[in-house]
C-alpha cells in the first residue's frame, strides 16, 4: 500500500487541523510568555517593632551622635541625634552609611593569613599565636599606625607597642597633626578648639570647614544657626582658598589664593591689624611684628598671591570690627598643611585676643589616659609618618621588623602613595586590623578584622575642631555579623600572651575606667538641655547629675566640658614663620594640583560607601574616569578642551582624568577630587577613577622640619 498524493495532502491537512484543537501549542506559547516575563525575586522589607537607640559615628571623622533605627532588634538606618552636640540632628553622607556598611562586600569575614599572593582563613587563636611569636621576635622594632583620631584604643595600641620596644607609633596625618605641631612650636598647651557657635566673623584659611575639616557636621549646624533662611545673616564667613569648594559656596566671600600662600595671607592681614594698633603680651610679639612689617605689606602680598590690597584691608576690618572674630586655618583636602600656616593663622587669633574666649579658640585639655604606659594624643600627633616611611623606603631609616596598622590605610591615603607602599613592603611582618579589605590590608601578612562600630564598644574623645571637650560612647547594636573581634580586645589578649601587663582584661573595662574618670572631673556635664557653647557664652554649667554616667552615654548622650588650659608661654613662634612663610615670589604659572576631599567618597579606611556613589555628580565621575577641574583660562594656556582625556604626572606617577571646565578654580590650578582610584575594597570603589593624592610630593617645611604637601606642581598632557 503506497502513500499517494491525495493521502499525503489529507494527512498534512488533518494534522494541521488537529493541532489547532490540541492545547499543547497554546500551552507552550503561554508558558513562554510567562517565563520570559517572570520577574526575579526582589527582597521583602523586614517586619517587627521599630525602636531607636543612640550611639556615635566612628566611620565619619565628624563624629556625629547617631540615632539608629532598629526593626525587631536589627539596625536598618542611621540618622542624626538631635541631643548630641556634634550632630544636633544632622548627619553626613558617610555617617549615614554606618548601618549598611555592615554588609559591605569589602568586609573581611574572618582572620586571614597571607598564603602566597592570596589569603587563607585562620582561627583567632592561630592568629594570636602567630602574632605573639612574630612580635616577640621583633621586640625593640615594632611600629604602629593608627587612623583613629579620637579613640581610647590608641592608648592600648601605643602602650603595647611601647612595651614591645617601639620603632615609632604614628597617627595618619590630618588637620590635627599640623595643629598639634603648630601649638607645640608656639609653646602652647592643649588641643585647639574652635567655638563657631559664639563667633560672628569667621575667616577660613583653606580649611574645608563644612566638608572634611574637624567636626564638620557641628560646624555646619553652627553656621546654619546664624543664617536664618531669607533673613540677614548674623555672621560673616570669608573663605580663602584655591577653589570655591563646598565651604566657599556658602560663604559671604571667596578670596582666591593658592594653598601654599595661606601663611602669606594671614601675615598680610596681621600687617593691617598691627597698623591699626593690635598688640599682644605673648612671647615673640616684637619679632613677629618685625617679620610682618618687614615683608608682608599689602604690595608684598599682592605680588605673592595676587590679592588686591583693598581686599586684604577689608578682611582685616571685618575681623577687627566683629564682636567675636575667629580665624581657622586648614588644608583644603584635610592633610599636608604644615605647621607655619597654622601658626600664622593662630597669630591672628592672638592679635585679636581670641584665645580662650567665647567665640574664639579654646585650648582644650586632653582627657586623662587610663592605660599605663600609653602615649598622649599630643605625643602621637608629634610623629611624622610620611617622613618615617620615606626614610624607610630610601633606606635612611631602618625598617621596623613588625608593623601594626589600626583603622588606617597608609598605602592609599598618604601622598606619594607609591613610595609609601614600597616602604610598607620593606617591613617583614605587617598586621592590619582593618574591617575592610583595603590597599594596606592587601599588603599585610595577617589581617585581623575589627568589628564595625555598630558591633563593638568604642569611644569618641574630643575630635579635633570641637570647641569643647566631649566624650561619647560607641556601643554594639548587634552581634558581629562575621567572625570579627574588637581590636582593643585582641590587643589586650595579645598582651596577655606576650606576658605584657596592660592592667585590663578587655576593652570594655578600659572604657568603663575612662568614663569613671570623667564622672570625677570637675566642670563636666551631660549635654541635654544645656549645650556646651551656651556654657561658654556664660550660662551656668549644669551639675553632673548623680547616677550612672556610663548609662547616660550608652543612651546616646555626650559628656562635655567647657574647659581650657591656661597658657603660660604661648608665643608667636616667629622664627618658624620667618623661615617658612616667604612673600615676594611671583604667582605660579605652571599647573598646581589643588585636591579636594568629600565625605561622600568615604575615607581611605572606608572606601566609597555604596549608597553614596549616587551622590557623586557626573562632573566628578563618569564610568571609571574621574574629572579634574580647570578654569577656561588655564585650559586655554595648557591647550586643553572640555571632556578631553589627559594624563597628570608628578612624583613619578601618572594619573588619568577628563577635563571639566569649572570657573570657580583659580587660574593656574588643577582641582582634583580625592577618594577615588582604589585598587582594593569592593566593586563600588575599585577601579573608579584615579588617586590624585599619589601625585602630591612631600617636602620638608623650613623652620618646623615637618612634612608638608599642600600644593604640588603637575604636568598635564
Amino acid at each position: 500500500m503506497g502513500l499517494d498524493r491525495r493521502a499525503f495532502l489529507g494527512l498534512v491537512a488533518g494534522g494541521a487541523v488537529g493541532t489547532m484543537f490540541t492545547p499543547i501549542p497554546w500551552k507552550f506559547i503561554d508558558d513562554a510568555s510567562i517565563w520570559t516575563q517572570n520577574w526575579s525575586w526582589i527582597p521583602r522589607v523586614p517586619k517587627g517593632q521599630i525602636d531607636y537607640v543612640g550611639t556615635s559615628s566612628k566611620l565619619c571623622p565628624a563624629c556625629e551622635g547617631l540615632k539608629i533605627m532598629r526593626v525587631a532588634g536589627n539596625p536598618v538606618s542611621a540618622g542624626g541625634n538631635p541631643d548630641h552636640p556634634l550632630s544636633r540632628g544632622g548627619v553626613s553622607a558617610l555617617a549615614r552609611s554606618e548601618v549598611y556598611m555592615l554588609y559591605s562586600p569589602a568586609r573581611i569575614k574572618s582572620p586571614m593569613k597571607r598564603s602566597g599572593k592570596t589569603f587563607a582563613p585562620i582561627t583567632w587563636e592561630q592568629a594570636l599565636i602567630e602574632m605573639a611569636e612574630k612580635l616577640g621576635a621583633a621586640k625593640g622594632s615594632v611600629a604602629a599606625i593608627s587612623g583613629d583620631g579620637t579613640g581610647t584604643v590608641n592608648e592600648v595600641l601605643s602602650a603595647l607597642v611601647g612595651k614591645l620596644g617601639s620603632a615609632g607609633c604614628f597617627m595618619m596625618p590630618t588637620e590635627a597633626t599640623s595643629a598639634a605641631k603648630g601649638i607645640k612650636l608656639m609653646g602652647g598647651q592643649g588641643q585647639a578648639g574652635y567655638d563657631f557657635e559664639n563667633a560672628d566673623a569667621v575667616l577660613v584659611l583653606g580649611a574645608d570647614l563644612f566638608e572634611t575639616w574637624g567636626t564638620s557636621t557641628r560646624n555646619r549646624k553652627a553656621f546654619g544657626a546664624t543664617r536664618p533662611a531669607g533673613a540677614k545673616p548674623a555672621s560673616t564667613y570669608i573663605y580663602v582658598g584655591p577653589t570655591r569648594n563646598n565651604t566657599a559656596s556658602v560663604c559671604d566671600q571667596w578670596i582666591p589664593a593658592g594653598a601654599a600662600d595661606f601663611g602669606i595671607v594671614a601675615l598680610g592681614i596681621a600687617w593691617h591689624l598691627l597698623k591699626a594698633g593690635a598688640t599682644s603680651n605673648a612671647p615673640g610679639f616684637d619679632t613677629f611684628k618685625a617679620v610682618v612689617n618687614g615683608g608682608f605689606g599689602p604690595e608684598d602680598v599682592k605680588r605673592a598671591t595676587g590679592i588686591a590690597p583693598d581686599v586684604l584691608a577689608g578682611i582685616a576690618k571685618t575681623l577687627a570690627s566683629a564682636k567675636a572674630p575667629l580665624v581657622v586655618t586648614g588644608s583644603p583636602f584635610g592633610q599636608g598643611l604644615g605647621a607655619a600656616p597654622f601658626i600664622a593663622g593662630m597669630s591672628l587669633n592672638m592679635l585679636l585676643g581670641r584665645i580662650n574666649k567665647p567665640g574664639g579658640v579654646y585650648m582644650l585639655p586632653e582627657l586623662a589616659a587610663v592605660v599605663p604606659g600609653a602615649m598622649s594624643r599630643a605625643a602621637l600627633l608629634d610623629g611624622d609618618l610620611p617622613a618615617f616611611l620615606k626614610g624607610v623606603e630610601a633606606g635612611k631609616t631602618p625598617a621596623p621588623k613588625a608593623l601594626l596598622v589600626y583603622d588606617a590605610n597608609p598605602a592609599y591615603g598618604l601622598p606619594e602613595s607609591a613610595t609609601m607602599a614600597k616602604a610598607l613592603e620593606k617591613i617583614p611582618f605587617k598586621v592590619s586590623f582593618s574591617s575592610f579589605m583595603d590597599e594596606t590590608a592587601a599588603l599585610c601578612d595577617l589581617v585581623l578584622p575589627n568589628s564595625l562600630p555598630l558591633e563593638r564598644y568604642d569611644d569618641v574623645a574630643t575630635p579635633y575642631g570641637s570647641g569643647f571637650c566631649i566624650y561619647s560612647l560607641v556601643r554594639p547594636i548587634q552581634k558581629p555579623i562575621h567572625d570579627t573581634k574588637t581590636t582593643g580586645d585582641v590587643l589586650l589578649a595579645l598582651a596577655r600572651k606576650l606576658s605584657i601587663e596592660l592592667k585590663f582584661d578587655n576593652f570594655q573595662q578600659v572604657l568603663k575606667e575612662k568614663v569613671a574618670g570623667l564622672a570625677k572631673a570637675s566642670g563636666g556635664f551631660v549635654a541635654k538641655d544645656v549645650m556646651p557653647w551656651q556654657v561658654a557664652a556664660g550660662k551656668p554649667a549644669p551639675a553632673l547629675v548623680g547616677g550612672d554616667l556610663w548609662k547616660a552615654l550608652e543612651t546616646g548622650f555626650a559628656w562635655t566640658m567647657v574647659g581650657q588650659v591656661a597658657q603660660t608661654g604661648m608665643g608667636f613662634a616667629s622664627e618658624v614663620v620667618a623661615k617658612a612663610v616667604k612673600a615676594g615670589k611671583a604667582p605660579a604659572v605652571a599647573a598646581t594640583l589643588a585636591p579636594y576631599s568629600q565625605l561622600r567618597t568615604g575615607t581611605p579606611a572606608t572606601g566609597i560607601p555604596c549608597q553614596d556613589l549616587t551622590t557623586v555628580p557626573d562632573t566628578e565621575l563618569v564610568g571609571d574616569t574621574t574629572f579634574v577641574r580647570l578654569n577656561s583660562e588655564t585650559a586655554k594656556a595648557l591647550g586643553l578642551k572640555k571632556g578631553q582625556t589627559v594624563k597628570l604626572s608628578a612624583a613619578g606617577v601618572d594619573c588619568q582624568a577628563k577635563v571639566h571646565i569649572f570657573e570657580s578654580v583659580m587660574t593656574g590650578m588643577v582641582s582634583a577630587p580625592l577618594g577615588f582610584g582604589h585598587t582594593a575594597f569592593d566593586y563600588f570603589s575599585q577601579g573608579k577613577g584615579a588617586n590624585y593624592l599619589s601625585l602630591m610630593t612631600v617636602a620638608e617645611e623650613p623652620g618646623s622640619g615637618m612634612s608638608m604637601w599642600i600644593a604640588s606642581e603637575v604636568k598635564i598632557a
Binding site: W39, V45, Y103, F223, R227, Q611, D618, E663
Partner: protein, 252 residues
C-alpha cells in the same frame, strides 16, 4: 496641566535655603536608604540611576573670578497642578489626599512612562532592572517603604510613611492628628541635613515655620510660569540664583 486644581486643608511643603546648602549629598544619601533605593554600581550614568532627591549644581555662567556657584536639592515638587497626574492612563499617580502629596501607586503602574515625560522637574525614575542589594544588605531595608520591581515609575513621596507615623504618635498622645506640631512630621532629607538648609511643614498652618518662610521676598519656586503651583519653595538672597528658577528672556 491637570486642569482642575484641588485645595487641601493641610498642604505639606518644603522650603530649601539654597544659601545654606553646601552640596554635600547627605540629603540624597538619607533618601536612598530611607526609601529602599538600591545601591547602584554604575551610578555615574545619571540617565539610568535612580535618585529621588538630587542635588544640582548651579552657576552664574561667568568666568573666573566672577564665577559663583550654588547647589539646588530637588525632591518631587508635589505640584498643585501636577502634569504627571493628567497623563497617567491608569490612575497610578494621583493628587487627591489631604496634604497635597502626589501619590505613586506601584501596583497600578504599567510602566508607560508618560509621567516621566510630562514632569518638567525630572523627578520621576523608571526602574529598568530589578533592584539588587549586596548579599545580606537587604536586612537594612526600611520597613516603611516597599521595594519596587522593575517596570514601574517611582519618585519622592515626601516620606509619606513618616506622616502616617506622626499621625499615629499624635493619636497615641491624645493630640489631633490633623493638626500636628511643627516638626512632628519631617522628611528624612530635612531631618538629616547637616546645614539645616531644609525646612518642612504645613504651608497653611500659621504655627509652622514654613508658613512664614514662603512669604520671604527671596522665596521662589521652580518654573512658576508653567502654573504647576509646586509645594517646594526655594530661598536665595542671590538674584542670579532666583533667576535660574524659571526661563526668563534676556530682557526680563
Amino acid at each position: 496641566m491637570s486642569g482642575q486644581k484641588m485645595e487641601f486643608p493641610i498642604t505639606w511643603g518644603m522650603v530649601i535655603d539654597i544659601d545654606k546648602c553646601t552640596g554635600c549629598g547627605a540629603c540624597m544619601a538619607s533618601c536612598q536608604t530611607e526609601n529602599n533605593v538600591e545601591p547602584q554600581r554604575e551610578a555615574s550614568n545619571k540617565l539610568r540611576s535612580t535618585s529621588w532627591m538630587t542635588v544640582y549644581e548651579l552657576t552664574n555662567g561667568k568666568s573666573f573670578p566672577d564665577h559663583d556657584i550654588a547647589y539646588l536639592p530637588r525632591p518631587c515638587q508635589q505640584c498643585g497642578n501636577p502634569p504627571c497626574v493628567s497623563v497617567c492612563p491608569v490612575i497610578a499617580t494621583e493628587k487627591n489626599e489631604n496634604g497635597g502629596i502626589v501619590s505613586q501607586v506601584y501596583p497600578r503602574c504599567i510602566g508607560c512612562r508618560y509621567c516621566v515625560a510630562a514632569c518638567p522637574y525630572h523627578v520621576r525614575y523608571f526602574g529598568w532592572f530589578d533592584p539588587v542589594w549586596p548579599e545580606g544588605m537587604q536586612k537594612t531595608l526600611s520597613p516603611l517603604t516597599s521595594v519596587r520591581p522593575r517596570g514601574v515609575v517611582e519618585k519622592c513621596t515626601f516620606c509619606h510613611h513618616r506622616w502616617t507615623l506622626a499621625k499615629d504618635a499624635a493619636r497615641a498622645n491624645g493630640k489631633d492628628p490633623d493638626n500636628l506640631d511643627d516638626g512632628a512630621y519631617v522628611t528624612t532629607c530635612v531631618q538629616n541635613c547637616p546645614s539645616g538648609a531644609l525646612a518642612f511643614g504645613d504651608l497653611k498652618n500659621p504655627k509652622h515655620k514654613v508658613h512664614e518662610l514662603i512669604k520671604s521676598p527671596y522665596a521662589y519656586r521652580l518654573l512658576e510660569r508653567l502654573g504647576t503651583d509646586t509645594q517646594v519653595y526655594y530661598i536665595s538672597r542671590r538674584e542670579w540664583v532666583r533667576k535660574l528658577g524659571d526661563n526668563y528672556l534676556k530682557s526680563e
